[in-house]
Amino acid sequence: MNAAATQFGLRASVAAIVGVAVSGCDGVQSALSFDGSDAARITVLTIVMVVAATAIFLLVMTVLAFALWGSASARKRLASPSVVFAGGVVFPCVVLSALLGYGFAVMRTSTHGEPGALELSVVGEQWWWRVQYPDGRGGTFETANELVVPVGRPVRIALTTADVLHSFWVPAYAGKLDMVPGRTNYLTLTASSPGLVRGQCAEYCGGAHALMSLFVRALPPAEFATWREREAADAERAETGRQRRGATLFAGAGCGGCHTIRGTAANGLIGPDLTHLGSRHSLAAATLPNNAAAIARWIAHNETIKPGNLMPEYRVFSDADLHALADYLFALK
């Protein structure tokens, strides 16, 4: 291969790699399009780290160039013990200590919380999120796989896990924190504008780890209060004939042994709460869109959607019955 072709090949590869990498910089799960004061602080920290690292990298490359191609006297000076000690021990210690201190200062607010924060709890399960909210009247209610937060108010999340290590990560609001068995970690985030962003589990937790994500909706305070009121209330009653048939099937098939629909006899705690399933943005921890057909598909074929998940496949229903059940669940808004 001649020199020109090699050069072209190199440039094309670099362009391709950079292009692919940068394509992840947009969208609901972007770590670069931040929102919220914590995210802003952490983004500044990120930029400082990147700039410092780049500068150090260029310095080291320059020294390396001198070491390879410099004059004999330059090389001799570089090899002297004082230069090695200053550049190899003193410089890293000082710089890294400074960066470490700066990092701690940034993270301190995130873990210790702020006054007036909304206190939530998120429990990592294999492979979904159990979310508990205060209902504004002294009690709590449970939902799953989706977070709704008020704009402008700090939200302090208590992170625990029911089984193995998970990690809660919503890139747009910054902060990624592990959920460790036997321990409660706290993360504070604040949304500064309304919108929908996506997060996911960032610590390998078993086969379906890649399919354990969540959406976070930020609502203005008044809308948030309305949402919370609705979410804390019991489930809507089935209206149409098909929905009533679905409700009967739900009880008959024993779904209430694992799932809860508040306001009915279903009070199982093993699987996600379904009281307001129809109002969520997605299903199965952001694996499926939320519609009746997807619900039906999950009930009968969840092993093909999320292999290894803990729910059995229910293929004991006729087509009509399965769709009645899905209609009932989708109508739980």
Partner: protein, 380 residues
């Protein structure tokens, strides 16, 4: 002595060997192709062939039989009872029984099936070897393998019976093989529709319950008052082999759809048997906890969420069911079986999370459990 001149050269040795082998091969081939060799069962084997086959049988079974029998096998009344009933239907025609002869049809087979209780053929086999023969059958004979190789537990019931058959009185055998079929089932007297399956339903009660008495063996499930949909589904699954049972598959395969529907309706309409009183308080208490609240820490829902009076008709009622039967089924799921039907696959996920202790507890609980409301009949 100079022996070298008597030794053949290599070329000579090869030539003579090849010609001899070729001649032998052609001789045998010609005999078979022309048809000179007689395959008549009536003619019997040459003595030397017979001895060779018997030696091969004894040695092969001895080497391959490795399974150890469960403890207390020879005195297990439930296993002996179930084994006797199955033996009567599946084996006695060829092998005779206490007080009954081998059917002359089968005496003319080669090798002829031995009369197991009147001869001492059983003495030559160890228990593990009997298990192997029953499970795998014997080549070049009419002895079939167990219809489904997943059910070792069923094969042991027949081994338990065989361990007792040589000393069994004909009256005792007759009692065991008839079970509850000594009297016909209650529903047969009234409804003309049910009378068409009368003989079959009575035969079922040699192993199962008949609306008045419990099943003779605790390994057999009670059918009285069970969901008709579940019973029909089970018979269909046995008939096409999706549910494994060497005992039930042959029974169900000869039934047509109409007979299955009538039988399911018949047994569903019988009064459920009265549950037994709880015997072990601690075990019952553990079973009650799992049945009513589940084991959330092991992702096990409450059994009654799917198995109560208001459940889908596809799911069976468990109340009053024999604990030994329930334990066997839960063990089948734990061992990877019962996964070929839609309902079986649901329970497989749950049963995998119940260990042997939890299975024993819930089985014991349901044996004495009575549903709050009676199960609905097929036209409710």
């Amino acid at each position: 002595m100079n022996y070298e001149r008597y030794m053949p050269t290599l070329r000579q040795a090869v030539a003579v060997s090849s010609v001899t082998l070729l001649a032998l091969f052609l001789g045998v081939a010609l005999t078979v192709v022309v048809g000179l060799y007689s395959v008549a069962a009536s003619a019997g084997h040459f003595g030397i062939v017979e001895a060779f086959l018997e030696l091969a049988l004894a040695r092969s079974v001895s080497l391959h039989a490795r399974a150890e029998p469960p403890s207390g096998l020879a005195h297990d009344r439930d296993r002996i009872t179930l084994g006797a009933a199955h033996f009567d239907g599946a084996c006695s025609s060829c092998h005779g029984a206490p007080g009954r002869r081998v059917n002359p049809l089968h005496k003319a087979m080669l090798p002829p099936p031995p009369h197991l209780s009147a001869s001492d053929v059983l003495d030559q086999w160890q228990v593990r070897e009997l298990f192997w023969i029953l499970k795998h059958g014997i080549k070049y004979t009419g002895m079939p393998a167990w219809p489904n190789l997943e059910r070792d537990d069923e094969v042991w019931t027949l081994v338990a019976f065989l361990q007792n058959v040589q000393v069994m009185e004909p009256a005792e055998y007759r009692r065991l093989r008839l079970g509850n079929a000594a009297e016909p089932s209650p529903l047969l007297d009234g409804d003309p529709e049910f009378r068409t399956v009368g003989a079959i339903a009575t035969a079922c009660t040699s192993c199962h319950d008949n609306g008045r008495a419990r099943p003779p063996s605790e390994l057999t499930p009670s059918l009285a008052g069970q969901s008709a949909t579940y019973l029909a589904d089970a018979l269909h699954a046995y008939a096409d082999g999706t549910r494994a049972s060497g005992i039930m598959e042959p029974v169900a395969a000869v039934l047509d759809d109409a007979e299955i529907a009538l039988l399911a309706e018949h047994f569903s309409g019988l009064e459920p048997i009265a549950p037994v009183a709880p015997r072990q308080q601690a075990l019952w208490e553990q079973g009650r906890r799992i049945a009513t609240t589940g084991l959330p820490e092991a992702d096990v829902p409450a059994c009654l969420s799917c198995h109560d009076a208001h459940a889908l008709e596809t799911f069976p009622r468990l109340s009053g069911q024999n604990a030994r039967y329930l334990r066997t089924q839960l063990a089948l799921w734990r061992d990877g079986g019962r996964r070929n039907t839609a309902a079986g696959r649901i329970m497989a996920v749950i049963a995998q999370r119940l260990d042997a202790d939890a299975s024993a507890a819930v089985s014991h609980y349901f044996e004495q459990h009575r549903l709050a409301d009676p199960p609905r009949g097929p036209d409710a």
